[in-house]
């Protein structure tokens, strides 16, 4: 993997990575769209409009956008429970997502899944999973299918730091290496599995070094550095598409909201959260670089933020005006 030059400007780096100014702006736009979706979800919950739980990814946007930009539309995505950002960056319809979030019949899963089970099989988005690590072994079968079809697609398999301590993580990595499964494994380490600090839960860090035991190339990177995420994922994807087998990337990041709606943040300090927000925020960092290098103005960046808010406000209006599922249909979809 080529090492980024220390003095490299954003413009130089983007040129080296083949990203146009439009690409960079679009990446910022998507990060704002995700952030605003998460803020809106939190607001809707506070207003009592959300029936169930949710797991918000505000603070982790660069991981989602970096991965989706570095991979193809026809690549498969196996998502984790904190998956809104990945779903959005893969091109989801915000209206249908919001409808699902509010449990409406026209949501992605007809209101049967909710925040934790959003999927869109028509776009190879194989769904988010409510069981920590539950989706990891699915990558083996998707990979076998890709090989069977002699396709050069890959499967992006997402999970968190908590899931890396599930047995299926190790079982799957072993088999993926044995069978050269075309899977990009991404451990999104946001520091806490619910309240459990990764340092108390993981005998040896970084998590990604566990890949060493399976002969799988691995990287542990700053997940809040958008172009570093992009570059790492792009190189990994190229390596996997060339038939070399899987790669494990650990993206070190941070979630601003609690684990879920019941979290009172008793396991971490306000200062810690504030420090990440003010000094390591992926959006502020990328935006700052874009402004500093005169690719966009501050006003334009604010505009992108507002656009993200507007799209989400419209989505709420769409979802609120959408029909609820008919209770008489409760037994539909148990069997195909």
């Amino acid at each position: 993997m080529p090492k980024a030059k220390s003095k490299e400007t954003l413009v130089e780096k983007a040129a080296r990575l083949g990203l146009s100014n439009e690409d960079l702006v679009d990446m910022l736009r998507t990060m704002y769209l995700i952030r605003q979706f998460e803020y809106m979800a939190d607001r809707l919950y506070a207003l009592g409009k959300v029936h169930g739980t949710m797991h918000l990814s505000a603070g982790q946007e660069a991981v989602a956008v970096g991965i989706s930009r570095a991979t193809r539309k026809d690549d498969y995505l196996i998502n984790h429970h904190r998956g809104h950002g990945h779903f959005i960056s893969k091109g989801a319809d915000i209206n249908l997502m919001m409808s699902e979030f509010l449990g409406k019949e026209n949501g992605y899963c007809k209101g049967r899944g909710g925040s934790m089970h959003i999927a869109d099989f028509t776009s190879n988005n194989l769904g988010a999973n409510g069981i920590v690590g539950g989706g990891i072994p699915h990558s083996l079968g998707v990979g076998l299918a890709i090989k069977h079809r002699k396709s050069d697609a890959l499967v992006i398999t997402l999970f968190g730091d908590g899931a890396a301590n599930e047995g299926v993580f190790h079982e799957t990595l072993n088999m993926a290496a044995l069978w050269k499964i075309p899977s990009l494994y991404v451990c999104e380490n946001n520091k806490y599995g619910m309240s459990m600090d990764v340092e108390r839960a993981t005998a040896k860090l970084p998590i990604a070094q566990r890949a060493e035991g399976y002969g799988i190339p691995w990287y542990a990177i700053d997940g809040n550095d958008l172009l570093l995420v992009y570059e790492t994922m792009k190189n990994a994807a190229d390596y996997i598409r060339a038939g070399n087998g899987p790669v494990l990337v650990e993206t070190q990041t941070y979630r601003y909201f609690g684990h879920s709606k019941s979290d009172r943040n008793l396991y971490r300090s306000k200062e810690e959260i504030e420090n990440w927000r003010t000094t390591k925020d992926p959006i502020m960092r990328f935006r700052g670089q874009l402004v500093e290098e005169n690719i966009i103005t501050d006003e334009f960046a604010d505009q992108l933020d507002k656009e993200g808010l507007k799209i989400n406000e419209d989505a709420v209006a769409f979802a609120e005006a959408s029909p609820e599922p008919d209770p008489s249909t409760v037994t539909e979809y148990v069997y195909a």
């Binding site: 209101g111 999973n129 072994p137 069977h148 079982e171 044995l178």
Partner: protein
Amino acid sequence: MPEITYLEAIRQAMWQEMKRDDRVFLIGEDIGRYGGAFGVSHGMLDEFGPERIIETPISEPSIVGAAVGAAVVDMRPIVEIMFMDFTLMTFDQIANQAGKMHYMFGGKATVPMVIRMPGGSGTGAAAQHSQSLETLLMHMPGLKVAVPSTPYDAKGLLLSAIRDPNPVCFVEHKLLYKTKGEVPEEQYTIPFGVADIKRQGKDLTIVSSGIMVHKSLAVVNRLAEEGIDVEVVDVRTLKPLDNDTIINSVAKTGKLLVVHEAVETAGWAGEIMAIVSGSRAFDYLDAPMRRLTGKNVPIPYNRQLERAAVPQEEDIEREVRAILKGEY
């Protein structure tokens, strides 16, 4: 019609469907050169190669998980779990993943996969290699459960299972593998949810599955010499269950005995009794409904203890006679 074993019928169903549909593959432990723990897949590695007879490390949860992943992208995996007992290690993938995906994704995902699993006692394999866990599988929404008792049923039900768009748990009784029966060479399917009346009768209905069908038939055929005429209903699939055949049979005979190897508490005999007692057949009952099941114990090792843990022919005979004499 050729006579083959239950084991050969299962192999033939897989073999023929793998020839017909290149999306079908078999995945599991020791299924290659070894032929699987019971020899079911013997010879298949040579015929289909390692890409379609996929041997795995000992990692049951991820083996089933791999099949789930393949199924949702339109492959047709068949998993062999070496012993039904080991499915307990895979319950997240079977119940939370395979069984629920169609529903929780609003009907947009389908999970066409089969999990084959040898169950049952009688081989001296003790508590962790002898269980009958079909009730657990029936309990989970989204799963189907087949429990074939004959070579003919095994082949036809397995072909239906492979072609079914839902996850199917296919329970093979290990004592049946060497039993023989007539099986057509050509492909045929037996629909799920259609019970088979293995013997017509008018005095009492036995509802059973798997090896207990054979034990019941042996008893009932002997009793017939005394003029006792018992009907034996083989459910063939526990989910879906053929309620109508059971209800009609009980309405005809007025007496019900459910025989299964699985332990009694919360076993599926209770489900059959609930179906009957909530149906028109209730009015025709002229004796209390009874169940004869495995005892509420882990399967023991010792031969005599193992026999004592699950219904034997003498138990079935005693129970049938007791019901007919009005002892309950």
